[in-house]
Point group: C2
């Protein structure tokens, strides 16, 4: 592969001049510029980004470490992150932590070794001394979706509190009183928060959230299945199961079906995270939609602000309730149209 030396030789100038042309440095004669450009073209020369990075100490690459690539919520997030990054001239390397802290740390280390300019993380369950260290040493970093308390880093996330209030109000209005929740891991911020918001919302309606109605999940489908089976085995099962993410909702649906029960007649179901498929399940599922696209874009902008030395901003965007029929809403699902299906992208 042609290097800058080959171009210089071909154009009859020094490498310094070639470099100046490539970086549109002003003091190059039109004549030299022309010859260099011709040589670049003739040789099909492309600058070696590795060499450039070594010299300039910047890779124009962002690292994104997410908890689970198979989760459509994170997929959508990754997509918008990549788009915004590309628009700003950055590439993105995605690492999949699969909800495992060690794997998360392994990715972070590899990304650091590659000298990425900044790190976007949605931390997995458990605390990570490594991330703390990274934040301390000044590597540009931004948390997205989830965050770690006590680490002084901008956070970009959706606030579900208001939407959860709306959900509980909706359920209450439909006559439901026994509401259960399948929580995420307590150690993730999103895990905790959603339970607290749910409990608080119930309290405003004079309802209690008994411990038996709090299932411990891990954001994976299986845990939703198990938690739901436990609910169903109770002497007095809940009327509604609210899953704190879309995969656990999927598991809950499995469990309900396995018991030969119908949604919403026998038991209702709602989920945090809206995904395109929720329109097509039988029945369509009431969910809380996060503005995934905006989250991804805001996260990248915040990170690039840190990288380029501007003051970054934490951002919190509101999530919103999307009512469908899985909790017993009398109205059927309206004809799905494009904007509805894509509401969370």
């Amino acid at each position: 592969m042609a290097s800058i030396k080959d171009v210089a030789a071909q154009a009859g100038v020094s490498v310094a001049t070639v470099s100046r042309v490539l970086n549109s440095h002003p003091s190059v004669s039109p004549d030299a510029r022309g010859r260099v450009l011709a040589a670049v073209d003739a040789l099909g020369y492309r600058p070696n980004a590795v060499a450039r990075s070594l010299r300039t100490d910047q890779t124009r690459t962002l690292g994104l470490v997410i908890s689970d690539v198979l989760n459509p919520y994170f997929t959508a997030l990754a997509r918008s992150v990549e788009e915004e990054a590309r628009a700003l001239g950055y590439s993105v390397i995605i690492g999949n932590a699969d909800e495992r802290p060690e794997q998360q740390d392994q990715h972070v280390r590899t990304l650091l070794d590659r000298r990425i300019d900044g790190l976007l993380v949605s931390p997995a369950d458990g605390d990570s001394p490594l991330l703390l260290e990274v934040a301390r040493t000044g590597t540009p970093m931004v948390f997205v979706d989830r965050w770690m308390p006590g680490v002084d880093v901008p956070v970009v996330r959706a606030d579900g509190q208001r939407a959860i209030q709306d959900l509980v109000a909706h359920l209450y209005a439909l006559g439901h009183r026994r509401l259960a929740i399948i929580a995420g891991p307590a150690a993730t911020t999103t895990g905790d928060e959603r339970v607290e918001a749910f409990r608080e919302a119930m309290r405003t309606h004079g309802l209690a959230l008994p411990d038996a109605y709090i299932g411990q999940g891990d954001f994976q489908a299986d845990s939703g299945r198990r938690a739901t089976e436990h609910f169903l085995s109770l002497p007095e099962p809940p009327e509604i199961v609210f899953a704190a993410d879309n995969l656990m909702a999927l598991g809950a649906l499995d469990a309900i079906r396995a018991h030969g029960l119908r949604v919403p007649e026998d038991i209702g179901l709602a989920a945090f995270d809206d995904i395109p498929w929720f329109v097509h399940t039988g029945p369509p599922i009431t969910a809380i939609a996060q503005p995934t696209g905006d989250l991804g874009r805001a996260a990248v902008r915040a990170l690039v602000d840190v990288i380029e030395g501007r003051p970054p901003q934490s951002v919190t965007l509101p999530a919103r309730l999307v009512v469908r029929s899985s909790c017993g809403e009398p109205a059927g699902e309206p004809i799905p149209n494009r904007s509805d299906r894509r509401s969370n992208l």
Copy 2:
């Protein structure tokens, strides 16, 4: 950030010795090794992958360019690719082409600039002189899922022909005779192949595939919707719609619902690609499952074979029919269990 010089100074040896310790070169005394390791530890030193890459001319990074990250099929593929690559000591940079050739080429160019060791591509619609050029210049490359005829590069893909025969036999046995297909873009190999396999399978049952029953799609949900609407507007609509990928099936389902029709009573639906949600749609959808995990692993192995100078192998794995109830199968969906839901991962 500490460099190899700092480590050398701290350990009282030369950088060469440090490098030898780091690369477990045999001729280093235990004493020196100990001091170096201690210095590495004390300084929290991590080798700069950028500098290493410049010198060794290898990045231990693979590029993966896929057509659509939001498509669960590709997400699953990406996941298995990343896992296998990591197991072999490679990182993966994913580029999302969004089914647009220019965007695909842009990603390929960026990846090449970053001197990735090899490229895994699922080419988008349309031919790309760039990819041809890349193949010609000897950059290690492997096609996965889709490929470009005439480009001499290993191909890792699933063969759906047999599964499509099974599908048509299944439909025929259920009494269906008017079968329609929503095809992918003709310029993608998977687009073409699936139509031909379908046509051929119908022929063996003495059925013809009229042009009116071939819808032109682009692997996106919207095109599935449009094609289905067209089918439904025909004087004699088909009894079954077979979508050549999961997103177009989703669109088809939308269109069918929008017309107030029921699946499978009024019209049947089947899809190429099996995804977890097909178990949960109303009704569960009969689909052709590709061995995504095996495909991803095989693709990485083939690519690494090319990179490391071993003779690579093209791989074709069989897809298989998963019968559910969306085409009128009398039997209900069995209780979904873990292994069933994950059948395609």
